[in-house]
Symmetry: C2
Subunit: 138 residues, 2 copies
């Protein structure tokens, strides 16, 4: 469980309003909850870190900009580009590294308590927030 | 589990592309999967039916138009309006009826196998598809 956001928000929330409350990059806010999952919003720019979630898939929806996700799959490495209005799910167990050269705003859906840097990761750079999500201060 | 969509899609999917594959109202398509959850897309217009999901919250994101959701809460009945770009979660156990006078496109997250008409419901009108989601034919 993450901070004091323990259930669904009681009113609709504009994602643009949620995003307007913070500027930090790679530092997701928990917008609302669905059962034991978080709906998170994040601003991103530059490179995240290679990491893996061993036990959960991770959902991305791009709200603004474009997100690239590099993936280390059985057949080799590839990258997908997730455009504005597109969704992509990184399967559990797949090492991946999100990045966005020009910046993006994204929505994530993943089990509460999921760390931004996964269960294993390369060295976390200073610009990446290792967190299970911050409470949204609307 | 629903149809043949048994895991995350392997490539990003534009929600607008997904929505362009069908015209049926109140008849969600399964766009991708996140663990044992579906990401569904639906077109809606007019009134759905009063129903309740006893064991799961239900997430709505409005992609186009606006969605109204009437709720029967402990304190009485109220309605929320979910604008384009806004999210709302109906808590488990709350009777609710989505509607959209002018039409909307929406994205849903809910456990795979969740019925569009819940575990209990008023009489289902002909224009409402009682389904656990249809496979997306991209």
């Amino acid at each position: 469980m993450s901070d004091d956001t323990t259930g669904p928000a009681t009113d609709p929330i504009l994602l643009s309003d949620a995003l307007s409350t913070f500027d930090a990059l790679w530092s997701p806010r928990i917008v609302t909850r669905v059962n034991d999952y978080d709906v998170r919003a994040a601003k991103v720019r530059g490179e995240h870190v290679w990491h893996v979630h061993e036990d959960t898939d991770e959902f991305f929806l791009v709200l603004e900009g474009a997100l690239e996700i590099a993936l280390r799959e059985e057949g080799g490495e590839r990258a997908v580009t997730v455009e504005r209005g597109a969704v992509f799910v990184v399967p559990r167990g797949i090492w991946h590294r999100p990045s966005s050269a020009d910046g993006a705003s994204i929505m994530l859906f993943e089990p509460s308590g999921t760390s931004t840097v996964g269960d294993a990761h390369d060295e976390v750079p200073a610009h990446v927030d290792a967190t299970t999500g911050h409470a949204l201060a609307l």
